[in-house]
């Protein structure tokens, strides 16, 4: 019940919240976005945030350094629970990345105009999340300097990777995903880099942006091929993003461990990935638009739409939880029945209930427009969903591994301070990269915003 807010009924909100603020021209869009990078002084808040993020990155360096010296024994993993935090965090990070590709590719194919001002930083988020995700399987191998064993190369031992294993599929899926996301992001950046080159003051900036822009001059012939390539990339990234989390879910569902061996895993993992990714986009977008006065570009309409996508994917995830439970009970398989009951009553039950609270119950508030348009509540909710999705992966990994077929093989899992340090460290890596990104590259696609200005002015005429 916030006083002073206008009553927001549906037809009015369309007028109140367009995808771009009124009165913008090509030049004003260019000025406003490029100024963040080129002319605005770096704020104290940026330095404070960067310092914090960079310290966390330091924590990661120490944690991984110590891991390389001592080995994976410094973590809480043990014999039944070989996966632990490394895999929980890997799945969490890679899932977060998926929203970036969804926004840039799928919403592009569906011609959703509201994607324009959020796709650039969402794609950056994807790249950084994939970077964080990639660290975990690498260091989880125990001897990361041998990680090249995972790639097929003509070794003197005559050995080749096991292509029938989901773990090798994962290597290909994640590395392809990282590469294609980087290409997609860079192609989108080329025209904006040209804008920065033309507006930068001082030789060093002009040379750096100039080299990155590769001599882009906005020729109609170039745009012609550029658009074809961009559309094709969107079309290719769409099945790719669905395949990546499907392959990640195969890491679990191809195994015969109770609680993992189900066919619902691929779709429910993909929905969960998009769910957590949109939560992360909101977590980034809300402070970003406030810090750089971008309310004209990232409008209420964007926040509301993202909240709706969160609600929808959250419901798919809830459906997945329900049917995971139902199918286990219905199958009559005693190991499966036992496992789902362990989720409800076992030693890790509090985590399961917390997960239900974070992922299913809290997001139901998003049915209300008052909540969807309340920025502070939305921000908190996005963090709740991020936590909930992390708990989901924890529950999947830990409960199944601690309660498999024979009681003699049961165990317990307790993360150590190094587990937490590594996780917090990747949060540091992620935020450090984000802070650098908003400082040196346009966080919103300038060329696409101009296109939006052209279209909206046509509509108004």
């Amino acid at each position: 019940m916030s006083a002073g807010q206008p009553p927001l009924d549906s037809p009015q909100i369309r007028r109140l919240a367009p995808v771009i603020g009124p009165g913008h021209t090509y030049a004003s869009v260019t000025d406003k976005i490029s100024a963040i990078v080129l002319t605005r002084p770096t704020s104290l808040g940026w330095f404070a945030g960067f310092a914090l993020a960079f310290s966390l990155l330091g924590v990661m360096t120490i944690a991984i350094g110590w891991l390389i010296i001592k080995g994976v024994g410094i973590w809480g993993i043990n014999v039944p629970i070989g996966w632990g935090f490394a895999i929980v965090n890997f799945v969490w990070w890679i899932g977060i990345g998926h929203a970036g590709t969804l926004i840039s590719a799928i919403l592009f194919l569906l011609n959703q105009k509201w994607r324009t001002s959020i796709n650039r930083f969402a794609e950056a988020m994807t790249l950084f999340a994939v970077a964080c995700a990639g660290i975990f399987p690498l260091i989880h191998t125990g001897r990361p300097w041998m990680a090249f064993y995972m790639f097929p190369y003509p070794s003197t031992m005559g050995l080749w990777p096991q292509f029938r294993s989901p773990l090798i599929w994962d290597v290909f899926a994640v590395s392809t995903y990282g590469t294609v996301s980087a290409l997609f992001w860079f192609v989108g950046l080329i025209p904006d880099l040209a804008t920065l080159r033309d507006r930068a003051v001082g030789k060093p900036k002009q040379i750096i942006y100039g080299m990155l822009a590769m001599g882009w001059r906005g020729s109609a012939r170039h745009w012609h091929r550029y658009q074809a390539a961009y559309l094709l990339l969107a079309g290719l990234a769409t099945p790719l993003v669905l395949s990546v989390h499907t392959v990640v879910s195969f890491d679990f569902s191809v195994a015969i461990v109770p609680g993992w061996h189900t066919t619902i895993f691929p779709p429910y993992f993909v929905a969960g990935a998009i769910y957590s990714g949109f939560a992360m986009v909101l977590t980034i977008a809300i402070p970003l638009r406030k810090a750089y006065d971008l309310q004209d570009f990232i409008t209420m309409r964007h926040l509301e739409n993202m909240a709706k996508v969160m609600l929808a994917t959250g419901l798919i995830v809830a459906y997945g939880y329900f049917f995971e439970f139902f199918m286990s009970e219905y199958s009559g398989n005693k190991f499966d029945v036992f496992l789902v009951n362990q989720r409800l009553h076992g030693p890790y039950a509090p985590f399961y209930y917390a997960l239900i609270l974070c992922n299913i119950l809290t997001p139901q508030l998003l049915w209300f427009q008052k909540i969807r348009t309340n920025v502070a509540v939305l921000f908190l909710m996005s963090i709740v969903v991020n936590i909930g999705m992390w708990l989901e992966r924890f529950v999947i990994v830990v409960i199944s591994l601690t309660r498999d077929f024979m009681p003699s093989a049961w165990g317990r899992y307790q993360p150590t301070v190094w587990d937490w340090a590594t996780f917090a460290g990747t949060l540091g890596l992620f935020t450090t990269l984000l802070f650098l990104f908003v400082r040196v590259l346009p966080a919103i696609s300038i060329a696409e915003m101009r296109e939006l200005v052209a279209h909206t002015s046509e509509e108004n005429e």
């Binding site: 021209t25 090509y26 030049a27 260019t30 097929p152 005559g158 050995l159 080749w160 990777p161 292509f163 029938r164 090798i168 599929w169 290909f172 899926a173 392809t176 590469t179 294609v180 290409l183 997609f184 860079f186 192609v187 025209p191 040209a194 804008t195 080159r197 033309d198 507006r199 100039g210 080299m211 590769m214 001599g215 882009w216 001059r217 906005g218 020729s219 109609a220 012939r221 170039h222 745009w223 012609h224 091929r225 550029y226 658009q227 074809a228 390539a229 094709l232 990339l233 290719l236 990234a237 099945p239 790719l240 395949s243 392959v247 195969f250 060329a447 696409e448 101009r450 296109e451 052209a454």
Partner: protein, 181 residues
Amino acid sequence: MNEQRSHIYGVMGEFETAEQLIHATEKTREAGYRHIDAYAPFPVEGLSEALGLKRSWVPYLTLLGGLGGGLTGFGFQYWVNVFAYPLNIAGRPLNSWPAFIPVTFELTILGASTFAVFGMLALNKLPQPHHPVFNVGRFSHASNDRFFLCIEARDPKFHLAESAKFLQGLQAQHVTEVQDD
């Protein structure tokens, strides 16, 4: 006239809106000019048609990359599992093709995407750090808020004074010659 051609790339006019640019492009083509190019700060709908551009080669290159990636992916796994490192697992077939699909799929996407991006850049002849149009002072607006049309000197119909006059007739502002260096 020939002397002029040697150090002049063309003449360029500036427009304020995308509609003006499309209109001017159409008129210029109607007047018989063929070596022309338009410059815009964002992809303008209808500009490719106005310039009479044909369907680009990018989709074919992408298809080629996708086929290449997919065939390499499957062929390689087949070779590894059937010839290079055959593992007899309870007598199951060595060519267990369903298990090879995920990697085949990923490599198809990887091949198609890299061909789409690098093919687009190659066809656009980028990176190309310098181009004569950058000699025009106001051309920095081409990446901001202005639209440009350039009639190139290699066009058989090109005549410095007349082509410039022609552009002015199309309501182009700041009509300037583009130095070639």
